[in-house]
């Protein structure tokens, strides 16, 4: 999510750190921030807000975190709204509405937005429309809660939150997209038609140059409903990404008052109804029994109970003595309603530790050796041992794809249901077809003397069950063989295990060109040390093109060399070969 530094100061007037420090600090407390950039004179951050922190999809939630981190006051802009006695005939029949607040504003004047607001919406990736639409977006980004302004002349005052129930089958959005609605979708209507879905507004939901009366609404719905609707209608909007999180109905009045007062400030209208507030089941926040030593116990470093209490208080938690417990350290903690992610003592500890600073935990104290029960399965020892044995016999290890194109036995094969790699949808039943492909690949590159193996799972169905077993597949230069290791391990004596494998280093290479094999016969006047010969001749060849060199034959004083070149063409290889061995 984008955050403009100067607008963060709306809630944190005393915020005064360098953008670099702010970026690093925000990241350390849990909101990964790649970088900040300057856009039209504003410092802008890009934050990765995790799914558990829906509250931080608005400046307000993030500002709450930062006010604790920097120990500076959190300021909520003051609003002072007039009221009117006019009751709005709004109804809510959908069970998926958590809270909705509405009010009518009349005699306003639509106009282009002031520069600051145009810039704000632009940086947030939204087109500027007019002062009203831009303010609804502004409030969504500032408080993280979607909201809307309906033209009361077009829509009327009787707005209804209801389940579609086949009222409308096709719905055209403001931008002209046609959505096929199902009967479960949550919609916002008037008595004659659907005005908006929970995700996106319709043709009649806009505000226009001649709009004078609007009804503004700020609402939160059952997030599961939003998720289902968003998936079903294949619609993802700034609103839906917020509404599908756990948002705080207690924040609605703040956003609502700010929206109404900004609208009056910028468009000159006045409040023309009572505030409608539908909130049938006010949320209850769980109280958590908490031991203020917990943060120290979990982190492994000493964090004072004073720091812990101060942090939780600054976060908006209410701390009470636990009268049923004689232990002084145990308290009852009620988190602020906006922090729905805090439900258990460990959550409170995380809050304390992240504000104390993860970087205060030492990094040089790993666990030390401790004897515990060895629960390593036998099969893993067998695999390790087999690999080492085969490598010592000259086999190279390969890993091939577990999903393949063609089943060996269509009756027992396991098929994937939704693989987007449509050409490989079956789990392999044998390693051999994959190893054959590997051999084809090596042949294409003319790799000399391929000899290789794979140890991997094979899969099949048996009596309605899915079976997977470790198999060993080998190619010894002539034929392919396969052994099921899981079956073998049963017959092995326990005493031959366990086995700790060697760590071997080697360098794998991405084959990008064919390997070119050339021989050379060289006559000497006396017997030679073959190793010295190889050292001498290989030193003459650029290492980047030399794959291998060997002596394949010695007859009297005639030595036959076989050299494999790669990363070069035939011509180059021949030229180098001739000059290396002084052949003409």
């Amino acid at each position: 999510m984008k955050i403009i530094y100067s607008h963060l100061k709306t809630f944190l007037p005393n915020l005064n750190v360098t953008p670099q420090k702010l970026r690093d600090d925000i990241t350390m407390i849990g909101h990964f921030t790649n970088f900040y950039e300057e856009i039209e004179g504003e410092i802008v951050f890009d934050l990765d807000i995790k799914i558990n922190r829906g509250d931080c999809l608005g400046y307000y939630g993030l500002a709450r975190d930062l006010s604790v981190l920097y120990n500076i006051p959190l300021i909520i802009p003051e609003t002072n709204l007039n009221s009117s006695n006019n009751n709005l005939p709004i109804t809510v029949t959908s069970p998926d509405v958590t809270r909705v607040m509405c009010v009518k504003i009349s005699n306003l004047k639509i106009s282009p937005s002031p520069d600051w607001l145009v810039k704000f919406t632009k940086i947030h990736g939204v087109n500027s429309v007019n002062n009203i639409v831009d303010l609804t977006n502004y409030i969504m980004f500032m408080y993280g809660i979607p909201n809307h302004a309906f033209d009361a002349t077009i829509c009327g005052d009787h707005i209804i939150w209801e389940t579609n129930n086949n009222k409308t089958k096709e719905f055209t959005t403001l931008d002209g997209t046609v959505l096929k609605l199902s009967s479960q979708n949550l919609v916002i209507s008037n008595p004659s038609e659907v005005l908006s879905t929970d995700l996106v507004g319709g043709k009649k939901s806009g505000t226009y140059d001649n709009t004078t009366d609007i009804i503004i609404e700020v609402a939160i719905y059952n997030r599961v409903r939003i998720r289902l609707d968003s998936k079903e209608l294949k619609t993802i909007t700034e609103a839906s990404t917020r509404l599908e999180k756990d948002l705080d109905p207690e924040t609605i009045p703040l956003a609502f008052n700010e929206l109404a007062s900004q609208i009056i400030k910028l468009s000159g209208g006045h409040i023309n109804s009572k505030t409608y507030d539908y909130y049938p089941n006010p949320i209850s926040v769980p109280t958590i029994k908490y031991d203020f030593n917990s943060a120290s116990q979990i982190s492994g470093i000493n964090i004072s109970a004073d720091f812990a209490k101060k942090t939780l208080t600054n976060l908006g938690c209410v701390i009470a003595r636990n009268n049923n417990n004689s232990d002084e350290a145990i308290s009852l903690v009620t988190p602020p309603p906006i922090r729905k992610d805090i439900t258990i003592p460990e959550d409170l500890s995380e809050e304390i530790i992240r504000f104390y600073g993860y970087n205060n935990i030492p990094t040089n104290q790993p666990v030390t050796y401790k004897k515990t029960n060895n629960i390593t399965p036998k099969i893993l020892y067998l695999i390790e041992k087999t690999k080492d044995e085969l490598v010592s016999q000259g086999y190279d290890e390969v890993i091939t794809w577990p999903l393949i194109e063609t089943p060996v036995d269509p009756k027992t094969v396991i098929r994937t249901e939704n693989s987007i790699n449509a050409e490989v949808i079956y789990l392999r039943q044998s390693l051999i077809p994959s190893l054959k492909n590997q051999l084809d690949q090596y042949s294409r590159y003319k790799l000399p003397n391929p000899k290789f193996f794979e140890i991997g799972k094979i899969y099949y169905q048996e009596n309605g069950k899915y079976i997977e077993k470790y198999a060993l597949g080998t190619y010894d230069g002539q034929e392919f063989k396969e052994t099921i290791l899981d079956d073998l391990v049963e017959t092995l004596h326990a005493t031959s295990l366990p086995y700790i494998p060697k760590v071997i280093n080697n360098s794998a290479i991405e084959l990008t060109s064919q390997i070119i094999t050339l021989d050379a016969n060289v006559n000497f006047t006396s017997p030679q040390d073959p190793l010295k010969l190889i050292e001498k001749y290989s030193a003459k060849i650029n290492k980047n093109i030399l794959w291998s060199m060997e002596i394949t034959d010695i007859f009297e004083n005639k030595y036959t060399f076989r050299v494999n070149y790669y990363n070069c063409d035939d011509k180059t290889a021949k030229k180098i070969h001739l000059s290396t061995f002084n052949l003409t």
Binding site: M28, G30, Y358, N359, T363, V367, T376, F452, I509, T512
Partner: protein, 337 residues
């Protein structure tokens, strides 16, 4: 921006690239999805003469593509590390050839060795699993986005799937060993994601995870042990920071970020200008996860951390295409005498 200057600058850069890995970095910086050229394309609208600018940009793109292509045909696909080490030549004369372990196996063994020395067992569990072991036992709620179709390869929806993470092995481990405490176990494993195969993505990945359950396990134990692992893999001078990060199966959660080796923290294309690269996930095992496994979180606590092995192994071997690592044109130069 001055397109001519970009052309001369990059021409020089490309010419200086010593090997294909370096060349690939330049290609990504320039022509990748978030590369410079694409960035310039987004600026067309604001250019004084969009049409002309667009044409110029297109021809610049084509030219640079050609230069890179030509260079890559003439570029040696090895790195300075291999160049520097003394080439060992195979001699079939009387001595058998020695084979090679797959690079992933080597990385796994390096890690196994670290953990075996600390008294860890190595563990495994099935790859075809139910959503109970892959999600629910890891405290992933039923409607969590991770459960969405596009991420998971299903055998039979919604119950049966190919495990998407090594934490699934943790689900089995905790349940199977809940009466055999304390636990110290590490596990390499392949995991599956429903992703299109291309040079940087695959449907099968290799991950590594380590789990400790004991009395009084702390974040200090977790961070120290993870740091030891990173130092083993990346060398003693690696800089890793540990920060707050959310995963449903842990609380508190810890995210290790490695300082970008390319820019040393200044910010570059490789690290998306963060200066840091996210290395995986970890944290203290969520009390609900312990509870579901039958372990009393009031008595025992634990940590878990996991990381991907493919990227690291590719970098170590200068492999630029993940398809090479698995069933591709991966080969080994004969080495030992």
């Amino acid at each position: 921006m001055d397109l001519n200057k970009i052309k001369t600058d990059y021409n020089e850069k490309i010419n200086k690239a010593k090997n294909s890995a370096k060349l690939e970095l330049i290609r990504i910086e320039l022509l990748g999805r978030n590369g410079l050229i694409n960035k310039l394309f987004t600026e067309i609208k604001t250019a004084p003469n969009p049409k002309e600018y667009g044409q110029q940009l297109n021809s610049l793109k084509n030219e640079l593509e050609n230069i890179i292509k030509e260079k890559s045909n003439n570029t040696i696909n090895v790195d300075s590390k291999i160049e520097n080490c003394k080439l060992k030549i195979v001699n079939s004369f009387g001595l058998p050839k020695v084979g090679h372990l797959h690079p992933i196996t080597i990385t796994e063994r390096q890690l196994n060795e670290v953990f075996r020395k600390l008294g860890f067992s190595i563990y495994n569990s099935p790859e075809i699993v139910t959503n109970e072991y892959n999600f629910l036992r890891l405290n992933v709620p039923q409607n969590h986005p991770a459960m969405d179709m596009q991420d998971t390869i299903y055998i039979k929806q919604p119950q049966c799937l190919l495990r998407t993470q090594t934490s699934t092995i943790e689900s089995y481990l905790l349940q199977q060993q809940s009466k055999n405490l304390p636990i110290r176990a590490a596990f390499p494993g392949c995991v599956y994601r429903n992703e299109k195969v291309n040079r940087s993505n695959h449907f099968v990945f290799h991950q590594y995870q380590a789990v400790v359950v004991d009395k009084g396990v702390t974040m200090k134990d977790l961070i120290g042990t993870m740091d030891l692992m990173f130092k083993t893999l990346y060398g003693p001078s690696v800089v890793v920071r540990y920060r707050c990060k959310y995963y449903p199966e842990v609380e508190p959660g810890v995210g290790p970020d490695m300082q970008c080796f390319n820019c040393k923290g200044k910010g570059c294309v490789l690290c998306k200008y963060a200066g840091w690269i996210e290395m995986g996930g970890s944290g203290m095992i969520h009390p609900k996860v312990l509870q579901m496994a039958g372990i009393d979180p009031k008595i025992y606590s634990g940590f878990a951390f996991g990381m991907g092995l493919d990227r690291w192994t590719m970098a170590e071997n200068y492999i630029t295409d993940i398809r090479t690592l698995m069933g591709g044109n991966l080969a080994y130069k004969p080495n030992e005498l």
